[in-house]
Symmetry: D4
């Protein structure tokens, strides 16, 4: 099956965070490909990846990076596909540098930015974008939202039932 | 023509910024509707708007708000459509509060956040999302990117030609 | 006994922090109810909770949330009761995002914001609000403040007495 | 009529901001008194004000200050009444210093903090606190919220009607 | 011996940091007293402390506090003695809140602020202030500065001598 | 008369701010000298200034600088006199850079930091330091504090008297 | 004369700032070329520029950009020449976003970052880099530093001479 | 062999970070010297170091420091050599203070600033500066960049080959 979503990241050290995007897409049964593409160390690969993505059938790109995080914005510069940026938490600035480097794009070249370390949400957003014209995927997202609601309501019922002391004791 | 994109904002004071999203969609010939929906002052209207949007044919929602900007995230909570958030620059915190309130969404409910005051980019991103499955819109975005490139190259040629002193003099 | 104070939070992961509000109200013998209400995952429950609270006899609502923390502000949007917001410390931004999302409310819809992770103070503030027209509760708060004073004075006396070296040694 | 709310501020330079609290209370017909009490220049007056307020019939104190804003927290230290803090925007730090100095109170001594320059919201919150046990005031707040809603809905209808271009033109 | 320097802090939890001020004054043989004075929990003791300090022979006050750190500024408000403020690192904001609450004092009431957790430097600064008119203490400070220089020069010589690899290995 | 206080700044562009230190010392009748000493452009002059100050009778140094503000810390490194640092507001970072560069000094070399643009307070603090051992100057400071109190009390009385509407009208 | 330094910027709106780099190089008589190269709008031109620069005789590249400022880092990724980055002040974040996007580069790809809007310093730094192996240019920089010193000393002498009141009066 | 690069730092506690500059220069076979020079504790040594460096054959200086980090800027003030500044991560402010103290230098005295804790990049940048006029060193940097690219491409191939699940499992 051709991949509909491309997940890339600047370094394999981003993989423990970025795999959450893949996991939720596995759960949603939306096809994707995943690789490492560094804006700063493999600029030619980035160029090839970005300029060929639409032709290869990719509909959305998810790009994660940390620090001076240029990958999402540079990929967005070279494709007309929607690009989702995931600011990966950095060691010295808690990801504020990653966030600002990704979200503050100039007029003409948007990046759809999610929360710091928000790879799971990037996967969901990618499915929502696919779902904007694919009813089956939109329904999958709707069902997922319903399941989150059910889960929270069950927890609410439980804490109302047994009280916060027992609930907190049970969390340990 | 049914609107494909819904543009909403928390207050009419956001309109001078948010109109940029409408303007670029006008230019792209992508249909949209535009209104004021306040999370804090018209919560019922927000509920109705968010839960009915997909049924009414909307494919993407653009929501702009400032300060404790809850509109984009709350709308995202109540629809499976992709929601783009525009942090509007606030009076006392330069929009940092708006940005954090919009981008830092919890797992399960992403908002595709653009730059502070980035309404024009929100419009472009909405078109890219439509374009993920609509070749005509994708090609429009591609042509727009090409025109930006041409414009920058012309400016580059000019400054190389006449020198920075004359160029800066001509900017005034 | 009908609850006078409603304590809600966006996720059970907030409970280890938010239980401090319940604990101090237990100590003050002010009645409360506690549950989980997620702005983003159970928006209908939030709507029902906020719009019914006053009728059910609730006088003050305490709402805790982290990240893009919309619960306190959204509840405040839908009730005329005073709402106290507790910014819960987030993983990537130390709660700055939670604080700005809660405190920077627009004109017309205030949230009484306390410190990051300040759930204990939220409980005390709720009691003070009840105490604004309930002498017994106000006197309880006054007695609590007196006991804090006594405790600090005892510690001051001890460190003056035994010196800081012995005091610090005794802290371990 | 005895004042139910005390509005104080650290300097008369805070008055252009802080008067908004008085104005909304005038509109709500909730009695208040207003004066200048400086934590740093009139500490004795602050002590007298805080310790006598409850006895004089005050039910809520609103305190505004900027920079190293100690007035709200110090007053809260010396009364069992609920204290609302208004961080006034400072010249060099945009009020971030004021906000942190007011909201980050230690356990035991809460200050109900509103947005930077949020004096109007402080007045509304004070009314809500009074309203927690005074049905008439609570109903006034409810009516005020309703009027805000009506106003936003009218603006929404107008922009939907005449379009954003005409609406923005009409704003100038 | 009458104490020349008063060291106070808002809570005994500040003592592990604040004891560094006492230690360096012990080393400098400058007399001091040390106690706990909470602006928020023992405001009367703070008032008495600040207004009596000069009469009791105190020449400089060192005050440490964290979060909404009001102690240094409030003491400065009630004495003509120089007051040194130590921002103690807070749990949720790394001491930025403490720093802003202490340093951003309004015109007329300065606090001599040192670095976050800079209690040792507060002790040195107090000695320098005494030394401004006491040659013996000034000479002690000068000798201390000389000893720091000697220590750094020895380390520099060592790393130049054995190389950084051996030096780092020896640090473990 | 020999100067007791040295006021220096990194650039003549700091003079409109830094002159406030001189003005209050004029008012207090405490002698001072004032000059421009740039850490980065006249390092030798800075060295000479710092190392000779004590010998020349200077008791306190006030140093103001903006941006990467090294002057206060470098002077403090080369004298045993107390050094007061004034962070001058910078064009691009509102003085946050100046503040951090001045206050975050390493152990052993304190700078007594005042608020951003707090030159007036630097002058008052210098007088307080002189006053720690000079009763006449301490009494001058005490009288100054008293006059501030009187001024605030008069304003308080006026606003209580004529009401806030008339007071604000009179401010224009 | 072949250009030794390449000055590029992301947009002609950066030119009023970036021209300062050219002006100081004109003064130093170090040859340069200047153009507009946008990472996001002309990525192919950026690629060509960066990969050909060394071959064309360029020894240092100065790149200025604002917001999510990717130009300096992307150019640095594609050349072994030293790249100096100038964070241009942005409209909504005062250039903090520009600074973090430029300075926080990952291991392997440094950008020599100067202050926000520090284009003049970028020019001086480029000359210093040339001067590391070109005595004539190093001597020019040394002479320039000497002239700055002379200028500051003259101002210092003047203010010592005529006093701050006359000096400030003369600044207007 | 005469050292071409001088590596200095304010304290031996900076050595575990700063040694990365030495390691990469060892790898590049570019000669260097390394020592400890404290701006605040050994100002005379700093003066001697900075003013003699060029004469001794040093072509680039790398200076690392934390907190109120004055070493890079002060050295830059006293030499015409290019100075690279490394902001070392501080305990209480994550290195934001170090970064601002180093990068925000005034016009005339640039410091080439790298990322917080970016000592390895400082070494690479120093080599690039040498390489601006030394083909052999420039080629070494080019080869290093090529090896980084090869390494990333190998990791990319591996994750594409074995999938992210196996790859992440292998990282542990």
């Amino acid at each position: 099956m051709t991949a509909r979503i491309g997940i890339i990241m600047g370094s394999d050290s981003d993989l423990p965070i970025m795999q959450e995007a893949a996991k939720i897409l596995d759960q949603f049964e939306v096809s994707y490909e995943l690789s490492i593409v560094s804006a700063h160390r493999t600029p030619e690969k980035m160029y090839d990846y970005a300029t060929s993505a639409r032709k290869r059938g990719i509909q959305v790109i998810i790009a994660g990076a940390g620090g001076a995080a240029h990958l999402p914005g540079m990929v967005a510069a070279m494709t007309e596909l929607p690009v989702i940026g995931v600011p990966v938490q950095s060691k010295t600035m808690s990801g504020i540098d990653s966030l600002y480097s990704i979200v503050q794009m100039p007029p003409g070249v948007p990046v759809a930015t999610v929360a710091i370390n928000g790879a799971r949400n990037a996967g969901i957003l990618a499915a929502q974008i696919i779902g904007a014209s694919d009813t089956k995927v939109a329904d999958t997202v709707a069902a997922f939202k319903q399941s989150m609601k059910t889960e929270v309501l069950a927890k609410a019922e439980k804490v109302e039932d047994i009280g916060y002391v027992a609930y907190v004791a049970g969390m340990k």
